[in-house]
């Protein structure tokens, strides 16, 4: 393999990891909610879209106020977006899912689809249907390697996405493994009735799960806004579907699985687009998913689902 081919490969790798990091962040929301109440939160993609819209509004507001220092602006945007998006996540659970605990399995799914339709059109009506372009927030990058007529580079924003995602994932794993809240969540995941009997506030734990999932989706929304520089009310559907695929690929219900799945989907997309064809990249992701599920019906890191009689 000559140098420029290797360079191209590494460039796709960097792009793929960046994309995968974002998918992973969204996928965690799916996987946590699934783990705890066994439902597919179809509206999660819209939650991420809401995060992106809050980010755009906040960025514009800050620039109007004259706050130009990038680190400060970024921190504020992240906090504001997380706050409002988490509020949406909490409300969605309260309105559309909590009344349906213990209902037939498909009822929350339909309710989620209704919520997704609602949120999409709500944002379209209140914010307009045209794409929102945002001036680039972070420019420049590092040239990692310069060869004959080829440069391998990682932009600051890519670096930021990868580092932030990694930090969040580490922090999050600690949160689940070490804190009382994480313990309560794991208890509810295993047996909700028993957890309730032992004094865990199940409703509150579930609500917090939605809030945490929404917060991570908000971060993903902010990152995407900065990375692509343009968003519209429809981005939630596609991203949600990819993240859901990622969660299932990694084994739904498993946190490391969601991260791994996200990364894999990002890499598959980047390499498939780069080497074969951009038009069929989603076909490639789904085909890999199906192939994996044929051999491992509960995903890569999922626990085998033992059915008891």
């Amino acid at each position: 393999m000559d140098a420029s081919a290797l360079g191209t490969f590494l460039q796709y790798l960097i792009n793929g990891i960046t994309l995968g990091a974002i998918y992973g962040l969204i996928a965690i929301g799916y996987t946590m909610v699934y783990g705890i109440i066994r439902m597919i939160n179809f509206a999660h993609g819209e939650i991420y879209m809401i995060g992106a819209f809050v980010a755009v509004t906040t960025f514009s507001l800050l620039s109007a106020l004259g706050i130009a220092a990038v680190p400060l602006a970024l921190l504020l945007v992240l906090l504001v977006s997380i706050f409002f998006t988490a509020a949406y996540g909490w409300t969605v659970e309260r309105i559309a899912y909590r009344p349906l605990r213990g209902a037939p399995k498909l009822a929350p799914l339909i309710s989620a689809i209704g919520m997704s339709i609602f949120l999409q059109n709500y944002v379209m009506q209140t914010q307009g249907s045209r794409p929102k372009p945002l001036a680039p927030v972070m420019n420049g990058g590092i040239n990692l390697w310069q060869g004959d007529g080829f440069t391998l580079s990682i932009s600051y924003i890519q670096l930021f996405i990868i580092v932030l995602t990694f930090a969040l994932m580490v922090g999050f794993t600690q949160l689940i493994n070490r804190t009382a809240l994480g313990r309560a969540q794991r208890a509810c995941e295993q047996d909700r009735t028993m957890a309730g009997l032992l004094g865990i506030n199940v409703d509150r734990t579930i609500s917090l799960t939605f809030v945490m999932g929404a917060a991570l989706a908000a971060v993903a929304g902010v990152l995407v806004t900065m990375y692509y520089g343009v968003i519209d009310f429809y981005i939630g559907f596609l991203a949600g579907m990819k993240a859901f695929t990622a969660a299932v690929l990694g084994g739904i219900g498993s946190l490391p699985g969601a991260m791994l799945g996200g990364l894999l989907i990002g890499l598959i997309e980047a390499f498939f687009t780069g080497y074969i064809s951009g038009a069929y990249k989603d076909v490639a992701s789904f085909s890999v998913l199906i192939a994996v599920l044929v051999f491992r019906p509960t995903g890569l890191l999922g626990r085998p689902d033992i059915e008891k009689v």
Partner: protein
């Protein structure tokens, strides 16, 4: 038992506070693209409206709940009457009566004086959705296998007819069974990799199947025309009679032969009657299938897969046949859709269609055919009725879906009763 008014006021205030938080970034502020980039504008009066509406709405909801609870408490609990075996229940008789009336209404609809183009067209749309939902009902309602990509079969049926007529010049009546067969084949194909999967894993794989189908149609330009679609699909004729003013070469025309004055509405009426006949046929076939071993096996599979295995039912065959037969119905609907539009493009086959069809099945109460009819009416008519609020109708539609599910989680008519049941045990 009524909660004191103070609690209600507090509750409503909390809801209003939440509404305030939620509405600030979306209703209160919005960005507008200008030459200088995005500019933020505010609409605080809208926020005030939203908060006020939520406060009043929540308060009214609290009172309504109390009133309902009081009424339920004052009414004596009804004892379920044991039903003698073999005797149709009241519900079953009501269902039959409703079906008869609905059928009579449906058959006479196009001939009624008030029926104009719009009504007949709308009726046709409702019937297409009923057809689709009946098909999906086989997979989801009867066999209990979730399918989020049902639109794939719809698309395959539509494109089968479009392409067969384009490349081989086949007409509607030849293509109808062919489309069904092709879609059934794809259904069987789809079911193979997912035999071992359960519940939610099925959801994503079927969703993926639907998306793969759409993407392939969109990008296989040389065969499907890509985003431009296929146009010039021939209209169905009646025994070689065309409904066009000037029939194509070698065909007679309906208005010349019968001596009735030409009217474009005849073609619409004819299409309507075709799909009505299709719906009746499909509903009847499914009802017969339910009484056959394969239908019994589907329902048994839905109730308990392990028990099925131990009783010697072949789950593989049951699953494959459920997807194939459901897919076939979807294929019929697609073929008809192509004939009606005269044009197909990938746009018509997005995920939202799958979601709507699934919503019809679930809203109707899984497994219930009457439920499907009512839910299809609802799902198709609601956005139509809301035409005046064009912009807001999808918002209302989403909310309505949530409200109905919360109100009746089992669907409008929840009759998930197995066709065969032992006397002692409840479903």
């Amino acid at each position: 038992m009524a909660t004191p008014i103070e609690t209600k006021l507090k509750d409503s205030a909390a809801a209003a506070g939440l509404a305030l938080v939620l509405s600030i970034p979306f209703i209160g502020l919005h960005t507008i693209s200008t030459d200088q980039g995005l500019v933020v504008e505010s609409r605080w009066s809208w926020v005030a409206w939203a908060v006020g509406l939520v406060f009043i709405g929540r308060l009214l909801l609290g009172f309504a709940r109390d009133a309902l609870a009081a009424r339920a408490a004052s009414r004596p609990k009804k004892q379920a009457k044991p039903v003698a075996a073999g005797e149709p229940t009241l519900a079953a008789r009501l269902t039959r009566a409703f079906m008869a009336v609905a059928l009579l209404f449906a058959v006479t609809l196009p001939f009624m004086p008030y029926s104009d183009r719009y009504i007949i067209d709308l009726g046709t749309t409702v019937l297409i959705y009923i057809l689709l939902a009946l098909g999906l009902n086989v997979t989801v309602g009867l066999a209990g296998l979730l399918d989020l990509g049902f639109v794939a079969f719809y698309a395959i049926g539509a494109y089968s007819f479009a392409l067969l007529s384009k490349f081989f010049g086949l007409d509607f009546w030849v293509c109808l069974p062919l489309s069904g067969l092709i879609a059934a084949l794809f259904g069987a194909l789809l079911s193979l990799p997912i035999l071992r999967l359960r519940g939610d894993y099925l959801a994503i794989v079927t969703l993926g199947f639907g998306e793969i189908t759409r993407i392939v149609i969109l990008n296989w330009q040389s065969l499907t025309g890509g985003p431009n679609g296929v146009s010039g699909i021939p209209r169905p004729g009646l025994f070689g009679l065309s409904f066009d003013r000037r029939p194509p070469e070698g065909m007679g025309s309906f208005h010349e032969l019968t001596g009735i004055d030409f009217s474009g509405e005849h073609r619409l009426m004819f299409l309507y009657l075709i799909v009505l006949a299709l719906v009746c046929l499909v509903a009847w076939v499914i009802n017969r299938l339910r009484a056959l071993p394969v239908g019994r096996a589907w329902e048994a599979l839905r109730e308990d897969e392990i028990a099925c295995r131990s009783l010697g039912i072949n789950p593989t065959a049951s699953k494959v046949s459920a997807y194939a037969i459901g897919g076939m119905m979807g294929g019929f609907a697609g073929c008809f859709f192509a004939a009606r539009q005269g044009f197909v493009s990938p746009e018509s086959f997005g995920f939202i269609e799958s979601a709507l069809i699934l919503a019809i099945v679930v809203l109707g109460g899984m497994g219930s055919q009457v439920g499907v009819v009512i839910a299809a009416l609802f799902i198709v008519m609601l956005p139509e009725l809301g035409r005046e609020f064009a912009d807001y109708r999808m918002i209302v539609f989403g909310l309505a879906m949530i409200t109905i599910m919360v109100w009746r989680p089992g669907g409008l008519l929840s009759t998930r009763v197995p066709t065969v049941k032992l006397d002692q045990k409840g479903a």
